[in-house]
Symmetry: C2
Subunit: 109 residues, 2 copies
DNA sequence: AATAATGTTTGTAATTTTGCGAACAACAAA
DNA sequence: TTTGTTGTTCGCAAAATTACAAACATTATT
């Protein structure tokens, strides 16, 4: 029993995925992914949620490593964490590309 | 305020991501992604969790559309849902590739 | 009909997530 | 020093997630 070990890479992928697992956070990432300037206010202004909630979502994205925040008094600038973003891309590709090759007898019909 | 609409695509992506947001489910997907035969028992046998829990994780992956199950009495065969898998690949690529282009002045330094 | 094998469903408990208003902290400007 | 701006943190409540054992359903086999 239990021959399968969950690898650190799988843990990391799950961590990224979990952070992306909410519509508002996807919207935030999408917003950040196509902008240079990105203050908290810019994000909050555009979302239909309370600022406390936005702050919380940002904090989760940050803890997952997908974004980073820099204090620029009196504002806070957020942006994609390029390094981890790249890693996320790799891990998701690894997972999603590595399936359903042109096997015969595959149940993935 | 609230000028940003959350698109159906973002909802879908979040749905996929949420399903992938747990180490055990990532492990299950990885397992399924490289196999043709994939009965419940094969999956359960290899994971360090109770069968009720495995069943629950499978059901969540199924509801998210990432896998599908077929009853083959007295067993149940699971496999990747190829069509939605492809969609997931597209959505994740769209999100992850579409960032941090070689902009000057990008905060993604 | 009784038994066995394979998974799902149910019931339960602990934990986590989500969302918001209100209070708070940090800094700039009047 | 007082006021205003910008975000974070706190406290709370509702809902969702996670995990398991036990009960159940379904189909084969004896």
């Amino acid at each position: 029993m239990a021959k399968l070990e969950i690898t650190p890479e799988q843990e990391r992928l799950a961590r990224f995925a979990k952070a992306m697992g909410h519509p508002t956070r996807v919207a935030i990432l999408h917003f950040l992914a196509q902008r240079n300037e990105c203050f908290f206010g810019d994000i909050h202004e555009v979302l239909p949620v309370a600022k406390a909630t936005v702050s919380q979502h940002l904090s989760e994205l940050k803890e997952a490593g997908l974004i980073q925040g820099t204090i620029e008094p009196p504002k806070v600038k957020y942006c994609i964490n390029a390094e981890n973003w790249k890693l996320a891309r790799q891990l998701f590709s690894q997972m999603l590309d590595d399936c359903c090759p042109s096997k015969k007898n595959s149940c993935c019909s």
